[in-house]
């Protein structure tokens, strides 16, 4: 138990340092974008959140698959926590998207592949959370949720493909082939992402611990019932 506390303390300390660093990078170090101006700085948080939420949903997929395979509850705690955090960060993406889009392109929403896929992803994993809360006491909740999480995640590339050749006005700034960013911006993105990942790790640990404690309470309740 005390081991866990130490690593948590280290993480919290790192976050304490990284957040102001990230803010500095995003708001001061990175040069202002020529066309879009100050608003563009949201990009650093928008993109970091997007990558984090995608990673998180991938964890839901992996956690679900491992739970079905190994039948170890801990994988399910992991998946559940990842789903909640994924939805959280995905919400940030969907909210910061329009905030960025309106002053720049003068539209609140566009149905381009990336934003739409993100929105559908959000819908799917909100549905996952609804499923979990509706089935809260059902003996099979973990299995059902795992199956749904797997199917939901597999759906994402399909969603993306199916609107792929619609015209996109989503700026293709970071592509595998070419990086359109000024190096300073690139560093800023990475720093922001690293910070958000740290935050993510702490939140995941807390959430998973919460699930574990819930289980322990249940076991204790059983013992009381028996005597």
């Amino acid at each position: 138990m005390s081991n866990v506390r130490i690593s948590d303390k280290i993480l919290l300390f790192l976050i304490f340092i990284m957040v102001p660093v990230a803010l500095y990078f995003a708001f001061a170090y990175a040069p202002e974008e020529r066309v879009m101006g100050v608003v563009q700085r949201i990009f650093y948080f928008h993109v970091s959140s997007a990558w984090t939420s995608l990673l998180s949903f991938f964890f839901v997929f992996v956690g679900g698959a491992l739970y079905l395979w190994k039948n170890d509850k801990r994988f399910d705690y992991f998946a559940y926590a990842a789903a909640e955090l994924g939805v959280f960060f995905c919400t940030i993406v969907i909210v910061t998207g329009p905030i960025w889009a309106k002053p720049v392109w003068n539209v609140w929403w566009t149905w381009d592949p990336r934003l739409t896929s993100t929105f559908v992803l959000w819908l799917i994993f909100v549905a996952y959370l609804i499923l979990r809360s509706s089935l809260a006491d059902h003996p099979a909740v973990r299995k059902y949720a795992s199956v749904y999480g797997i199917i939901g995640f597999i759906d994402v590339p399909i969603v993306y493909l199916s609107i792929y050749w619609w015209r996109t006005i989503h700026p293709r700034v970071i592509t595998p082939a070419k990086v359109d960013l000024h190096p300073k911006m690139w560093y800023s993105v990475l720093i922001c992402w690293a910070t958000i990942l740290l935050l993510y790790t702490v939140l995941m640990k807390l959430r998973i611990r919460m699930e574990r404690l819930k289980e322990e309470v249940q076991i204790l309740q059983e013992r009381v019932q028996e005597d």
Partner: protein, 223 residues
Amino acid sequence: MSIISAIVRKDLVIEYRSRQTFVTTLFFGLLVLVVGNFSLSIGGEQQTVIAPGILWISFLFSGLLFLNHILATEKEENSLDGLLISPATPGQLFLGKMISATIFLVTLETILFPVFHILFNFQFTLNSIWLYLVILLAALGYCSLGVLLATMALGLKNREIILSVLLFPILIPLLIMAVKSSIILLNQLKMDQFYNWLKLLIGFDIIYVVLSYWSYHWILEDV
């Protein structure tokens, strides 16, 4: 194989005996078309692009009603337990239910197909055959995922709503493919994009039928 056909035959006979659900759902599907038509009564150009969407909204909601019904018939006298105890494997149960649901949905759509054309003033051309194929493929994909999720929702009080909440987000690609194909077909546009959509639709169906078939036994373990 014969187990699957036994299940399908049973579902078809039961439905035929109490045609009530089918007729009511048919009427509901028709209502959605009609209401949709009124809502879009701006007339002229816009209608032909948006109208196909109405067809698919009707399809989605009618299908939802069938999916719930298909599993609900196993609740009276707890016959689902009877199926679980039997030598039928989860895969066979899944295929049986999926095929039954698909047959119902396709039958309903076959009836509404000409009605839709008439209501929205679309011509019957060679493209109509393609459109019918799209309906068949969409029904298959819809029912495969639908049976899986409807079984999950079976124990819940608000099972109809939960099923739609679970099903619709995942089926958005299916909807997009179906609507885009329909727009091309009904408006006699160039067919090259249609073939792409068709390929995607077939791919989607394969993925989802296989996935749902394979995961069904996880769902049945603790029903």
